[in-house]
Symmetry: C2
Subunit: 472 residues, 2 copies
């Protein structure tokens, strides 16, 4: 199979060529007959459909994610309705929302009917209420029941991500009867590496790996072969915790049970991989106050608004930091070099503090930090900052005193650097730790909060020391 | 199975209690007989060993990652030598390096002998040269051959991550003969969801899913059942690309082939999950100039040194930005409010620019950005910045003019904000795009580089405009 870029390339070329042809036609005959135009369109659309049909749903979703709004919708309208639901599900949430907005009610209903129940469950929050209620009345009973079951579980829980494709075996079965039942299944779900063994009350009692079935004698009772200590999850469990368990114990699938131990559904490694990716990518964006499902190629106006709240917060913090400087305008008037040097103190502490935040947030995400070692960690980061503050604070202090021929100024600079670096380390641990303890996302906006502290405290320490020690 | 925290909890308590007992004993009888001390130690160590034996290797690695240097080594010495290699392999690279440093040559050799060849291959870069060469002479021939094969492939390639556990079937086989051969295997490797079908020259011609084997008649020739278009990788392929293919096509395992199509090894989803996690976590750290394998609980001194290079770079850039202010000291002397307001211009642009970098780097990582849409993206980010610059620049300009009773100052402030925000968007795309085109990591240090630009240009634009328009 050629790689993804090679597979998408012809479609991108087609879109590009179509743009050219259209603009050429417009330029050459602005009053061209409608017929020619619609012929070109029809030919183009059928070519687009043909190309799309040859792609995987995941590939189409990827293509849509990388297209600007206009061609994105043009391509979307040519996706066959039978596959459109799967494409929606594979696409990032904001892109899916954009596509749903561009889909008429009728097509939306039809594409939902074709979706798997777990996929439908996961995109339903993007679908307009009125379509959703009509959908609930027209869906087949199995899917409706699944939507009702999963509606009980919160976003980010195992229950949200489980799928109904479970193959169970009664405990009384033998390999032979299991194989017979297995052959009668129309389709074995993907990522089935084990069957789940249940007792008479449908409670999970173990798992039977497919490979064990292959190498065992037909008459063996499965209770002799099954693994009773199979890793299982409760529907209320945190999905990210489950994903980490998949990573740690190399799972391919795992049963999801209710409080009484009965099987509700199944988690599979493909969904867990997406969870891992999303969690990590979200952390990356949340540090800068962005939400994980920002649409890279979305419309300008929506993107601008999405960033307003954060920009306003940032403006406020910068304003407060600036008022700190305002307190010392009298000092600066007498020694203008202070205005020149003060951003160095703030900037270096901001950067090292952000390093501490990045390390610590990762430690939290990987479950490496707990109440026992957080003290060591704070001590360690403060110690690292002290060493660096002494070494590099002295260096910049020397440069400053040479530059302005003022040894006292150099000393103040060095002292301010040292204090602000230590402060940055402490705040770099304290802010995400406090957010985490309050049950908030420790990454969210930490970079603005930290920079606020290192800026305003940096200005305060540096200008304060200067006022005390340097003014005549 | 209780969750991870619950499983590690008794060990953490044990370590803690031991610390208490020891410090108590020292305080109460500083001249205590050696015998009592060694009795306490022996009892403690055997308890520790017993507890460790009940844990998974991945759990032990996790425990070691979250311990400070001293208890980390104490625990490590109690891990059975048969499992120690697997623990090393599961641990993060820096932690593994720290553990190897604390291991004597003899134990290191023995634990390597117990390792799987693919695990050994992946940790060998951490093992001292002299141990490694002795190891090469004493390993069994199979492992030695594997090390020789994989040595050809670069870090970050599929060849580095593949494992030798491949189950192949000749094309002439039937289901019956395959099942028979399968039963004779001592152990079927984990994450085996399909067998690979090869022709007479050992070239891959397809794959046979286990579930197909279960539901097919014994006499069927496997060539009739196999899937010929199985997703395969070359050993030179990029591991992160492969991980994305696993995500996209929901793979559990895939064959790795050489140039002539012969099977070299196998990639499995558990290794790919780790690759995804590492890639994303690394991006998070690299933005702040940290390397992915920074050891959170490592020794202070080493951590301090690891951050020196970056701190020095940051100090240089901050110094240059400060020199930009230095150019305008004469202006500031006449209007000290400029010193107070200038950090706002720099800070807000720095934060919005970092948002652009975060979004763009993620787009690159997810393969959503290409030469066709980068122009739209630059335009879009610049447009978002213009809107935000107009709205929020005017707001802060109004505040500044009210605060200092100087309308011209407010206008200069608003203009400087607008220009610097647009600049931040352009640089936020241009810097990572240039790094990417040069084949460098687009994330690495981008936050320092961006802040450098927004700081120095912010100061220059604001103070420059002020010099031209505000000075008498």
């Amino acid at each position: 199979m050629p790689d993804l870029d090679a597979r998408l390339e012809p479609i991108l070329r087609l879109l590009h060529r179509h743009d050219l042809v259209r603009s050429l036609a417009q330029r050459q005959s602005p009053a061209k007959p409608e017929l020619v135009d619609s012929l070109i369109e029809r030919q183009y659309e059928s070519e687009l459909r043909r190309r799309l049909a040859a792609l995987d749903s995941a590939d189409i979703a990827h293509l849509l994610e990388m297209l600007p709004p206009q061609p994105r919708r043009a391509v979307w309208h040519q996706v066959a309705v039978e596959r459109a639901g799967e494409v929606l599900w594979e696409a990032a949430d904001t892109v899916a929302a954009d596509l749903i907005e561009a889909t008429d009610r009728d097509r939306l209903l039809r594409l939902c009917w074709h979706m798997d129940p777990d996929a439908l469950h996961q995109v339903q929050h993007l679908i307009p209420q009125d379509v959703l209620s009509e959908l609930r009345n027209t869906l087949d009973p199995g899917k409706r029941a699944w939507l009702r079951t999963t509606a009980r579980y919160a976003k980010g829980s195992v229950g949200e991500l489980m799928s109904p494709d479970v193959v169970v075996v009664p405990e009384a079965a033998t390999i032979k009867t299991t194989l017979k039942a297995f052959r009668q299944l129309q389709e074995v779900p993907d990522q089935t590496d084990q069957l789940f063994v249940v007792d008479q009350d449908q409670r999970l009692i173990g798992a039977l790996p497919l490979k064990t079935m292959l190498v065992s004698r037909p008459r063996t009772p499965i209770v002799e072969l099954m693994q009773p200590d199979v890793q299982r999850f409760k529907a209320d469990d945190d999905a990210q915790e489950a994903a980490r368990a998949f990573e740690r114990y190399d799972l391919v699938s795992a049963p999801v049970i209710d409080e009484r131990g009965r099987i509700l559904g199944r988690l599979t490694v493909d969904v867990m991989m997406d969870t891992i990716r999303e969690e990590a990518e979200d952390d990356l964006l949340r540090r800068d106050g962005l939400s994980g499902d920002e649409d890279l190629f979305g419309p300008v106006w929506r993107s601008a608004q999405r960033r307003w709240l954060w920009l306003a917060v940032n403006l406020m913090t910068a304003f407060v930091a600036s008022r700190v400087i305002g307190l010392f305008e009298h000092t600066i008037e007498q020694l203008v070099a202070l205005a020149t040097l003060m951003p160095i103190v703030a900037s270096v502490a901001g950067n090292t503090g952000n390093q501490t935040v990045a390390l610590f947030v990762r430690g939290l995400a990987m479950d490496q930090v707990n109440s026992g070692n957080i003290r060591y960690l704070s001590f360690k980061e403060a110690a690292v900052s002290s060493i660096n503050g002494l070494v590099w604070g002295s260096a910049i202090g020397l440069v400053a005193s040479a530059l302005y021929g003022n040894a006292a100024l150099g000393l103040v600079m060095a002292a301010a650097m040292l204090i602000n670096l230590i402060l940055a380390a402490v705040v770099g641990i304290a802010v995400p730790a406090a957010m985490h303890r309050l049950g908030r996302d420790p990454a969210f906006g930490s970079s603005v909060l930290l920079t606020f502290t290192t800026d305003s405290m940096g200005f305060f320490i540096f200008l304060g020391l200067a006022t005390v020690f340097l003014l005549p």
